[in-house]
């Protein structure tokens, strides 16, 4: 965990994304729905996220991955992840995201540009920022267990 290699960091981020689902409440989940994770472009996390999606469930639902190459392609999803190597501006993605979508970014300052959660490295350790206002505006609730670990930004 300390001084992770790029690979380790990528898989850790994938695990984090999955773990976030345990502390966020979506009140629009219907019984027949799958849990959809949208990913902007492709990223180093893809393999790990796929592996997790195959084995695990979120709120008893199967996990489906969707890749969007541009903001225009964005369709219904519960999590929208913006990887570090996604070239477009964050704003253009977040503006398209809509209600009940948890936008997770891996870009500097993304939490101030409409992402609810953003990965950061503090002293070589993977941490995450949460923008509580963004979460609220998106109509999502985060557990205090999650908030206490986050770096809160506004």
């Amino acid at each position: 965990m300390w001084g992770q290699t790029a690979n380790q960091e990528a898989s850790l981020k994938a695990v984090f994304i999955y773990n976030f689902t345990k502390y966020i409440e979506w009140d629009n989940l219907n019984a027949e729905d799958n849990f959809i994770i949208g990913i902007m472009g492709s990223s180093a996390l893809d393999a790990t996220i796929e592996a997790i999606a195959k084995k695990n469930f979120v709120k008893n639902k199967r996990i489906i991955l969707r890749h969007f190459n541009s903001p225009e392609e964005i369709s219904t999803c519960h999590i929208l992840f913006i990887p570090r190597d996604y070239p477009g501006p964050v704003r253009s993605v977040t503006e398209r995201a809509g209600k009940k979508v948890l936008v997770i970014a891996d870009k500097v300052n993304a939490a101030r540009q409409g992402a609810a959660i953003n990965f950061v490295l503090v002293n070589d350790k993977l941490k995450f920022e949460i923008n509580a206002e963004t979460l609220y505006t998106a109509g999502l609730k985060a557990s205090s267990q999650l908030l206490k670990l986050a770096i809160i930004v506004d």
Partner: protein, 445 residues
């Protein structure tokens, strides 16, 4: 005994009490620490999921105020690696290995090690372990032990006092009974019942003993009566036999007829002596033996008796060795003669031929002491008092020396009736028999 029993019982009781008390305390402690570990576990789920050991450390640091008795707290990840830890400031670091592989609560010295799994939706993601210092435990042990000791001492005192109070009621009566039994053994007086007013086992024992003694006494009496009747019935035909033998002895002067008659007469004398002894015993038992007091010279009687015995015991040398002064005394002459004959014949009977028997008398102002010293087989030390008992035969002679064992018994009775004393002493070779009769003013009866 009672005190000892009560102390043992109380000590066991107190030990059980302290043991269960401490066990209860430990159980309570395990429960409370386990639930604390559980709460910590629940609170640190997210820190493990997001690998945030700083946050986990913060949670554990909060223990300092919440539960100051916790010495060390650790969160381990699912691979059993240390994830976050807390050590109470200034505390020594407890056994790390034990913390890592802790399966169930462990007490070590004054420390309690407790662990709990951290679960996330049925998935094991880590462990919490807490090390608690049981500072109260030693204090609890100490205070309970002190209390138990105080109570034990108090109980000891009380039971001692009770035992002291009950002592006369039990031990005294038992000792009384033992003394009574001893007395019966020594005197042979079986008809004195022991009095005990209790209603417990001891009085049952006393009653049983009294009944037994009553039966023994009755059978003794029947035996005495039988001896009395038997000896009396034997005497009548014997007198007649003796009369005819005497007559035959006078009439017959042809050998070997005369020798036969004399042998028969000799045996008749022996038989007559035995029957006389039995009759005397019977009289002693029934209290019919009467003294016929007269005043006579003891020294004369000694010489006469010595001469008479010397006649039949020619191989022995019986001598009198004293200052030969006359010793006047008031007594039953015939009975005293009987005593002398008995003692002298014993001296002869229990010593080898050619040995000496020495008789001496001595007046010490209050009593006249007669001593008969023999150089025979002697009397064992432990039998010196018993030989004056009825039918008592000394153990090392019973086989080859005849007699019923009545002589000394009769002697003792005669001397005691004279308010005198009779005893025997062991000598380096043989023994000395003494009897003493009161003289002068001491002889007033």
């Amino acid at each position: 005994m009672q005190v000892f029993t009560s102390v043992i019982v109380l000590a066991i009781f107190f030990m059980a009490y302290i043991f269960t008390d401490i066990r209860d305390y430990k159980e309570r402690k395990v429960k409370s620490v386990t639930s604390l570990a559980h709460v910590i576990g629940i609170n640190s789920v997210s820190t493990i999921l997001f690998e945030d050991n700083e946050a986990a450390k913060d949670i554990l640091a909060g223990l300092k105020n919440v539960a100051p008795e916790i010495v060390r707290a650790d969160i381990l990840d699912k691979h059993n690696n240390f994830f976050a830890g807390y050590l109470r400031p200034g505390a020594a670091n407890p056994d790390t290995l034990l913390i890592k592989y802790l399966k169930e609560p462990v007490f070590k010295d004054t420390l309690l090690f407790v662990g709990d799994n951290i679960m996330n939706n049925d998935e094991l993601i880590g462990r919490v372990s807490l090390v608690v210092e049981l500072s109260e435990l030693s204090a609890l042990k100490k205070s309970k032990s002190e209390m138990a000791a105080i109570l034990l001492i108090a109980a000891l005192c009380i039971s001692f006092l009770i035992a002291l109070a009950v002592q006369p009621y039990i031990s005294k009566r038992l000792l009384y009974l033992v003394n009574a039994i001893k007395r019966v053994g020594q005197t042979g007086n079986y008809d004195i019942p022991i009095i005990d007013n209790g209603k417990d086992e001891i009085s049952v024992l006393v009653r049983t003993f009294n009944n037994l003694m009553k039966e023994v006494n009755e059978s003794q009496q029947r035996k005495d009566e039988f001896i009395g009747i038997a000896s009396h019935e034997l005497k009548t035909p014997l007198t007649s036999i003796k009369g005819y033998l005497d007559l035959l002895n006078v009439m017959e002067d042809k050998e070997p007829n005369k020798q036969c008659v004399q042998k028969a007469l000799e045996s008749t004398h022996k038989l007559e002596k035995l029957i006389k002894d039995l009759l005397d015993v019977s009289k002693i038992q029934s209290g019919q033996l009467q003294l016929n007091i007269s005043r006579f010279n003891m020294v004369e009687l000694l010489d006469e008796t010595i001469a008479a015995i010397q006649m039949v015991a020619r191989t022995h040398s019986i001598t009198r060795e004293d200052d030969h002064e006359d010793q006047m005394i008031s007594a039953d002459k015939e009975k005293i003669e009987q005593v002398l004959i008995n003692l002298l014949s014993n001296a002869v009977k229990y010593s080898a031929p050619e040995s000496k028997v020495i008789v001496s008398s001595k007046n010490n102002g209050t009593e006249l002491v007669i001593k008969i010293r023999d150089y025979g087989i002697g009397v064992p030390e432990d039998e010196l008092n018993q030989i004056f008992g009825r039918f008592y035969r000394t153990k090392n002679s019973s086989v080859h020396i005849s007699g019923l064992g009545l002589g000394l018994y009769i002697c003792r009775d005669i001397i005691l009736r004279h308010k005198g004393r009779i005893w025997a002493e062991k000598e380096t070779k043989g023994s000395s028999f003494y009897f003493a009769l009161p003289v002068g003013v001491y002889a007033e009866m």
